[in-house]
Amino acid sequence: MDTILRVENLKMYYHTSKGAVKAIDNLNFDLKVGETLGLVGESGCGKTSLGTSLLRMPTPPGRYESGRIILDGKDIIPMSEREIRKDIRWEKISMVFQGAMNCLTPVYTIGRQMLETLKEHREMEDSYATELIKEYLGLVGLPAEVMGRYPHEMSGGMKQRVVIATALFLKPSVVILDEPTTALDVIVQAQIINLLKKLKQTFNLSFIFITHDLALEAEISDRLCVMYAGKIAELGTNEQIFGPAAAGRGANHPYTEKLLASTPRLHRKVEKLSYIEGTPPDLISPPNGCRFNPRCHRVMERCRNEEPPLREIEAGHFSSCWLNDEGR
C-alpha cells in the first residue's frame, strides 16, 4: 500500500508564560492510502494537538520545533500559508474538529454555512456549489431539504453528518476526525461509524480517527496509535492490539493494557472495573525516564531514569517499554 502521510520526528510545543508545553514530542508514524489510523489516549495526551499540527494550523502559542510532515510526497511544514490554503488544507487534508457540530452558527441556515465554507476555499458559481452541497448531503444520508434548516432544528446526529459532509467537499485524501461521536448516543454513533466506513470505501480515503474510547477504535481502525503525554506508547494493527489473547495477541504497553482494563464491557460481567490512578503529567515538566512511570503498575528502576525508545517488537507492532528487554 502507498503511503499518503509520513510524520518524522515531529515536535510541536505550546510556548506559554509558564514554559513550553511539550504536547507533541518526537512522533514518527505513517498513514497508508485507504487506511484508518486510530489515535487514543486520555484527555490531555496531545491527540487534538497532533490533529491541528497535521493540518498545519497549530493553535497559538503552538510552534513546530522540528520534524517533517510529508503529505503526498511533500513536506508541508516549510510551505507558505498561501500554498497551504491553496493546495493543502481542505484540498488534501481536512479535519472534523472536536465539538464542531455545536459550533454551527445558529443564525444561518445549513445551506448558507456550507456554501460559505465551500466558496472560502474555491471559487465557484452559487448554482454549481448548491448542486455540490446537495450531492454531499446525499452522501452522508441527508435530504437536500436540510439546506434550509437552522442548526437548532436538527438532531446531534444530523449536525455531525453536515460537519462530515463539509470536511469531504474538496475531495481530500486524508480526513482527521476528532471525537466525532463522543456527544452522540450509541445508536447514532453506530450509524455514523457505518457512514464513515462507506465513505472511506467510496473515496478511498485515509482517516485519522481520534477518540478516548478504545472499544470504538476496535470497530473502525485498521491500526491503532496509543498516545501518552505527547509521545507514542504503542502502535500496532487492530489484531495486534485487540486480538484474541488466546492467539498470543494483545496489547504490549502497560498503558494500553490499563486502558483496555478500564473499558467497560457489555457482554462480560466484571466485579471490578480497574482504572489508572492519578492523571497524565503536566507537559511543561514531564517525568524523567518513561513518562508513564509514576502511574505504571510494572515500573522498574530503569523506567525512572532512561526514556524507552519506540521499538518494533514484531513486524509492524511498536512499543516503548523497557519490559520488552526483560523477557516480560
Binding site: 484508518t36 486520555e42 484527555s43 438532531s155 446531534g156 446526529g157 444530523m158 463522543t182 456527544a183 452522540l184 448516543d185 450509541v186 445508536i187 447514532v188 454513533q189 453506530a190 450509524q191 461509524i193 457505518n194 466506513k197 462507506k198 478516548h212 474510547d213 478504545l214 472499544a215 470504538l216 477504535e217 476496535a218 470497530e219 473502525i220 481502525s221 485498521d222 487492530n238 489484531e239 492490539i241 485487540f242 486480538g243 484474541p244 495477541r249 490499563k258 486502558l259 483496555l260 478500564s262 473499558t263 467497560p264 464491557r265 457489555l266 457482554h267 462480560r268 460481567k269 466484571v270 471490578k272 472495573l273 480497574s274 482504572y275 489508572i276 492519578g278 492523571t279
Partner: protein, 338 residues
Amino acid sequence: MEDHTDIILRVENLKKHFEPHQSIAQAIAGQKKRKLVRAVDGVSFEIRRGEIFGLIGESGSGKTTAGKLVMKLIPQTSGRMFFDGEDVTSLGKAELIAYRRKVQMIFQDPYASMNPRFKIRDVLEEPLIIHKIKASRDEREAMIVQALTEVKMTPPQDFMGRWPHMLSGGQRQRVSTARTLILNPKMLVADEPVSMIDLSTRAEILHMMKDVQRDLGLTYLYITHDLSTTRYFTDRIAVMYLGRIVEMGRADDIIDHPLHPYTRALIDAVPEPESGKVHVVKELPISGEIPSPAHIPPGCRFHTRCPYAKPECSSLPEPELEDVGMGHFHACRRYKEL
C-alpha cells in the same frame, strides 16, 4: 408486589407534556398551536432501597425529563409518586425543600457545577448554608472531612484548601459527589455522570460511586444512553423509548436475553474492544432517527423503526408492559415470534 418498605421510590403512570414553543408571529397569525410534546408519556417503575436502577434510551427518549420529575425540579402533567412510603406527588414549599435534601442530583459536568472562585471547602459548605443546616464551625468542618473521606479524597485536609482548577476531572467529580453526600441523602439521581469523560476517569468515577453506594447503603437512579456501563454498574434497568418504558428487569437478564427489538438494537450498537470488526459494516436492526415526541406514532410507538413490525403493531392499541417472570417486563406484542 414487593413489601412496600423495600421500595424507596414508586412512580405511577407519570407524564410530562410540554407546551410546544410558538413564535409571536404564529400566535398573531392565529395559527393553531402545534401538538403537545409528550416527553414522558406514562411511566411506572419502582426502585428498591439500596439498588442502582438504570434508565436507558437514546437521545430524546425522555430520560432527563423523567429524572427531573423524580427530582421534582419540574411539575408532572399527571401521575403519582411515592417516596419512602409517602405520597410526594404534590408538595408544599417546606416539604419540597426537605424532599430535595433526601433526593440529590449528581451533575454531568463537574466544571459547570462548581464555582471556580470557591475553594473545595467552600464548595462543600455551600449546600449546608443553602439548606440552613444548624451546626458549629467545628461540626461543619467534620461534615466536610467526612464527605471527602467517603469519596476517598484523602487526606481531606490536602484538598480542602485547593481551587477546583487544581483538581483532575476525576477528582472534581468526586468533590461534586461529596457535595451531594454532605446532606446525607437517601437517593441520588445521576444523569449521564460519565458520558463526556475519558475512559480511565469514567472507570474511576463509576468505581467510586459504587463504593459510596455500598458503604452508605444509598439508592441511585442512573440515567445514560450507554448500555456498556450498566452491566457493571446497575442492578436493574428500564429501557425507555419515546417517553415510555419498553423493557425492564435485572440488568444481566436484559443484556443476555433482551425481549424487545429496541433493547436489542441498543445492545447491538454498543462497540466492544475486540478485533475482527473493522471490515464489517454493522447491521443495525433499526434505522433512521427517533420520531418527535410531538408526533408519537399510533399503536406501538416503536413500530415505525421496528424491523419486525406487522400491520397489527400500528392498528392495535399500545402494548402494556407484560411480566414474563423473574421481574422481567417487556412491551412487545410479537416477542415470542422474534
